[in-house]
Amino acid sequence: MLMQTSDEDLAGLAQNGDADAFSLLLTRHYDLIFRLAFRCLGRRDAAEDLAQDICAALPAKIIGFRGEARFTTWLYRVVANAATDRLRQQRSRQKAGFAWGETEQLRRESATEKQAELIWLEQAMQRLTPELRQTVALVLGDDLSHAEAAKILDLSEGTISWRMSKVRETLRRIAKEEEAIR
């Protein structure tokens, strides 16, 4: 019975103290939390860490879900904001800026084509500010429309489109720099 209940209803039940509803809701969406966290942070351990922290805080936070938007919209927002916050924390500790990825060591080794693509990805992601990265993670990573991403981030759809054009600009700049090196 519970299995067919909508996320929104489950959230309502959880708010009223239904532990099963809460568990089911989290089981449904842990992967969403982890994937978005990974796409923002670029490292498995950091993503697992953040996902766990979010899960731990969710019992308290779920009270804030008002049922106006879809539950996933609300959850995406929680994750995206938490990830951005963590990126900023990281940056204040490291001079390296907003790190993304874990294969830096590979760069000096002979890279296969697959690795080369990964290195390109890391390079690109590292260039993006947390806001742009968050947007990329939602629009490209989770294949959401600009309208959906706008709702999640509580921005206008135009801002999302503008951010994506900034991303494209960044990618083109990287391509140009690579050409210049060759």
Binding site: A19, L58, A82, A137
Partner: protein, 654 residues
């Protein structure tokens, strides 16, 4: 045309791993536990309609969330190391060390529930100030979260009032009024990096002809090493000012020759080639404290003074502290007595002096501890000293173990006044040691001052294995002083040594005349402790001399002794007020033990972390090679861990 974005999309999809089932399970279980914890709270969950509109609410929710859980539990840190190091296999003996009474859950339910109660605010979308597409500036405005004001209307603050907390614990409150004023600043501010360090810059090079005498107090603290480790394991090189080389060197147990005769410790001096400079030598002074038979030790009166302020609620603070104290309990006997005093909004006696064999009672008292409220270190300290004095009797050793993240906010927050108080109490015969917990709030300067003035040690505990090292492996050393006020003075011979510098001990420098002044306090040596001090010296005529000789100064007379210098050491036996003097001539040589060379590797590593003013091109790679070659038996794996840290630091530095 958007093939760039398609490429990014495909690459991102390829790079995203599937969630790890174990991590997934752990996270969901934790959430379920917290959910259950919330339901058990008095008053339950607030009705949804009872929400106030508050823009700060979401921000605070997120901040709180990070504050509560932002620090990676120790076990996860271990797993992440393997990833960062790419191929380095790190084995920390965590699991073996876990006492059986600790369940594997990552959170303590009680602490959790207090925490969650305060996070009860509405989550409302943050309103970006209508960032219009056409109006958007070239660079985007910073995220709204950072700009929001830390508004915190009282109505939203569902955290139990300090008064209520104290009442629950049956604590007679003293400084509650003051606390109430202090409390509201917490959540927003505290996630900033508030760590403060007590370093006085790197010791400069001294010219022997001008300043031949170097005087310092020994230091058996190890806090800096643990701090450096925790920083590197979190993926960031430590700030240079957080690196205190003598504490890194002294973190490791060395096997210097055992003392014989009346002196409770031995002193071994060796001179050998400096690894990082072919033109200089290291003068290595190793002190080994005697190791009394454990069973013969006098009984202990321990007062645990435990910080239960709100900032202690993190997983690596209060919960870790409780586990650590459980470890310590296993090493005490029925002769020993324990009392527990807490301090937060108000201070209170949680456990009256109890025989250490009554573990049920002690563990129950530990379990009742909860984090909450602000910090009133001073009042707690007074109470702890009062308890210690109550227990004091002839033939017993009294020690206060202060466990804190260093947040002494309320009461006398002036470090000078606080240390003066501790100084007065030191003379009553009660020692004070400090155990630092957690990051982000750790007030190193204050901890140092307190431990130094309380004749105790300061250690920084970041993992259970560190607790094992500090509290159990070295329990005898940490708890039984064998020599007090140990001072070292070295006079270098200007006929042999052109320049010298003391590596580390910056915060322990003493004036030359203080050496013979028994009123001047210095560090203590505990049973079995080793203390190491290293000078780098530049012989006359070496190409490595930095300072040009002066033209108009008197020529230095040749000295037939051939000694490089003269080492003098003063100490007091515990309880005595007059010091004893030991002297040794330092003669040239090129012999070093494996222990000495390993300590040189650590000193070099520390200097690299500090910026490496005096070590030329000597690199992490060199430090790794030197440390690796001199690991020796390494029964506890401390040295192997140090090599791992060096490797991590090497990759972080690139």
């Amino acid at each position: 045309m958007s093939d760039e974005l398609d490429r990014l999309k495909a690459a991102l999809a390829a790079a995203t791993p599937a969630p790890d089932p174990e991590a997934r399970k752990a996270a969901i279980q934790l959430a379920q536990k917290n959910f259950a914890g919330r339901q058990g709270l008095a008053g339950g969950v607030r009705p949804i309609s009872d929400r106030a509109e508050n823009r700060g609410g979401f921000v605070r929710g997120v901040k709180d969330m990070f504050h509560n859980f932002g620090l990676r539990p120790a076990l996860l840190a271990t797993s992440s190391i393997a990833v960062v190091g790419l191929g380095i296999i790190l084995v920390l003996p965590m699991d073996n060390l876990k006492p059986p009474s600790v369940n594997t859950g990552l959170q303590d339910a009680k602490v959790e529930s207090t925490v969650n109660q305060r996070a009860k605010t509405e989550v409302k979308p943050v309103e970006a100030d209508a960032v219009d597409n056409s109006m958007a500036p070239a660079s985007e405005p910073p995220a709204v979260m950072m700009e929001s004001t830390p508004a915190r209307p009282a109505i939203l603050d569902a955290s139990p009032s300090p008064q209520a907390l104290s009442a629950e614990r049956g604590i007679a409150g003293a400084a509650i009024g003051q606390l109430a004023k202090q409390a509201p600043d917490d959540s927003f501010m505290r996630q900033e990096d508030r760590e403060r360090f007590a370093n006085a810059g790197v010791n400069p090079l001294e010219i022997t002809a001008e300043n031949p005498v170097s005087t310092f107090s020994i230091d058996v603290d190890t806090a800096s090493y643990a701090y450096v480790r925790s920083s590197i394991m979190n993926g960031a090189l430590p700030r240079p000012e957080a690196v205190r080389i003598e504490e890194m060197v002294n973190y490791f147990p060395y096997d210097y020759p055992q003392p014989d005769g009346d002196v409770p410790f031995s002193t071994t001096v060796s001179v050998f080639q400096t690894p990082w400079n072919s033109g200089t030598k290291l003068v290595h002074i190793g002190i080994q404290g005697e190791n009394p038979v454990f069973a013969d030790r006098p009984p202990l009166d321990l007062v645990f003074l435990i910080d239960t302020s709100g900032s202690m609620q993190d997983q690596n603070k209060l919960p870790l502290l409780k586990q650590s104290f459980r470890l310590l309990l296993s090493r005490l006997t029925s002769e020993d007595k324990i009392a527990i005093v807490t301090y937060a909004g108000s201070s209170g006696l949680v456990l009256e002096p109890t025989a250490a064999s009554d573990t049920d009672k002690i563990l129950a008292a530990l379990d009742r501890l909860e984090a909450g409220g602000s910090t009133a270190g001073q009042a707690g300290l007074q109470l702890a000293y009062a308890e210690a004095e109550k227990m004091a009797a002839k033939g017993r050793i009294g020690r206060i173990l202060l466990a804190t993240d260093g947040d002494f906010n309320v009461g006398i927050s002036d470090p000078d006044a606080l240390t003066k108080y501790i100084e007065q109490k030191r003379d009553s015969g009660t020692y004070l040691s400090v155990l630092g917990f957690g990051r982000g709030n750790y007030n190193d300067a204050l901890m140092q001052a307190i431990a130094q003035n309380g004749n105790g040690t300061a250690a920084y505990i970041d993992t259970l294995s560190e607790a094992q090292k500090v509290l159990v492996d070295q329990v005898s050393g940490a708890l039984f002083p064998i020599a007090d006020d140990v001072k070292i003075q070295v006079e270098f011979n200007p006929a042999m040594i052109a320049e010298y510098r003391l590596i580390g001990y910056e915060t322990r420098a003493l004036a030359r005349e203080d050496f013979n002044n028994d009123k001047v306090d210095a560090g203590e040596i505990g049973a079995g402790h080793t203390v190491t001090a290293i000078y780098e010296v530049t012989p006359i005529g070496s190409p490595a001399i930095m300072a040009e000789p002066l033209r108009y100064q008197n020529k230095i007379k040749a000295d037939a002794s051939g000694e490089l210098g003269f080492l003098k050491l003063r100490y007091k036996l515990p309880g005595e007020s007059n010091s004893h003097l030991l002297t040794t001539a330092i003669t040239d040589g090129d012999k070093s033990s494996m222990d000495a060379r390993f300590s040189a590797a650590i000193a070099g590593f520390g200097q690299i972390l500090q910026g490496g003013k005096y070590i030329g091109n000597w690199s992490y790679g060199d430090a790794i090679a030197l440390a690796n070659a001199n690991k020796g038996d390494d029964p506890y794996g401390y040295r192997a861990e140090a090599v791992t840290l060096m490797r991590l630091a090497q990759s972080l530095a690139h």
